[in-house]
């Protein structure tokens, strides 16, 4: 059971992610620099953390999405590996095409930094199995470009395939279909704008995010 966190210039939630993973998995993840071209052997899970990789130049996640390591991450995902992208990590996964849709400037134009209430839309994924479907959870968001843009047809397809992992109860950023987190077709890749790693320790104000990491621990043990 091995995990890794990819670190880009401008990542700033990489150590929060490492702490949350270590807490749930019982071991520290490997930190992998974006210029590496290969991943450590035997990985089960890759996390792409939040932050402002490459200063959000061109588009959020665009440059990071073409970093040398991302080719290996895409191969890993295509082989069925687990990939979790939070915030900027979600933007990176959309930019690489591992998840559909894209993230644009918040509809209200302002940077939003607050705790929002989400609904867990599905418990049928390695990321959400420790939640109940329909469960409300409070998780912080901190983003300027968190407006998930998908066509009506795509939103419907995601809904029909039960690929919406989390939705906003009170949409803060204009996201299509109130989508806060989305799963890949094989349900092994999750991207989400809110930060569960910031709500995985009572000392940080809450533990509603912890079940996501516990879900992963469960998935990795049973794998």
């Amino acid at each position: 059971m091995k995990s890794a966190v990819i670190v880009f210039p401008g990542s700033n939630c990489d150590r929060d992610m490492a702490m949350a993973l270590a807490g749930a998995l019982g071991h520290a993840p490997r930190m992998v620099w974006h210029k590496d071209v290969s991943l450590p052997d035997g990985l089960d899970l890759i996390a792409i953390p939040g932050g402002f990789s490459f200063g959000d130049y061109l588009r959020c996640g665009a440059i990071a999405g073409r970093s040398p390591i991302m080719r290996a991450v895409a191969d890993f995902a295509n082989r069925g590996g687990l990939v979790l992208g939070i915030c900027n990590g979600f933007q990176v996964l959309c930019e690489t095409g591992l998840l559909p849709g894209t993230l644009m400037r918040n509809s209200g134009l302002k940077f939003i930094c607050k705790t929002v209430r989400l609904t867990v839309e599905t418990a049928d994924s390695p990321f959400t199995s420790a939640y109940d479907a329909g469960q409300p959870i409070d998780i912080p968001v901190a983003h300027h470009d968190g407006n998930y843009v998908a066509s009506d047809a795509l939103v419907q397809r995601l809904r029909d395939a039960d690929r919406i992992a989390f939705s906003y109860q009170d949409n803060p950023n204009g996201s299509s279909g109130n989508i806060a987190g989305v799963l890949s077709q094989n349900r092994r890749v999750l991207g989400m704008m809110p930060h569960p790693e910031r709500r995985a320790d009572p000392d940080l104000g809450g533990t509603d995010g912890r079940a996501l990491f516990q879900s992963l621990a469960k998935a990795l043990i049973s794998a």
């Binding site: 061109l58 588009r59 665009a62 440059i63 073409r66 959309c94 930019e95 849709g101 894209t102 644009m104 400037r105 918040n106 509809s107 209200g108 134009l109 407006n147 843009v149 204009g174």
Partner: protein, 80 residues
């Protein structure tokens, strides 16, 4: 050879920044404005003298990095 790449949001994609610029211009008294859309211009300087080859390279750059074709269109202006 220089190529200017114009990247614009596809029709129908909401452009909150364009909307904010529209509101500001309207507040300044430019009341004939119907809409504002904001995009990007990227200037490429290529070591290539064949315009067709240069354009093909620029198009590949747009497809692979410069534009997000989910939401953006691009056009090229090839400058001799």
């Amino acid at each position: 050879m220089k190529i200017r790449v114009f990247i614009t949001l596809k029709a129908g994609v909401l452009d909150p920044q364009g909307k904010a610029v529209l509101q500001a211009l309207s507040a300044m008294g430019f009341d004939q404005l119907r809409d504002v859309r904001q995009g990007k211009v990227i200037e490429l300087d290529l070591d290539e003298s064949d315009p067709e080859k240069a354009a093909a390279a620029a198009r590949e750059m747009c497809e692979r990095l410069l534009a997000n074709t989910v939401i953006e269109d691009y056009t090229l202006d090839i400058q001799q």
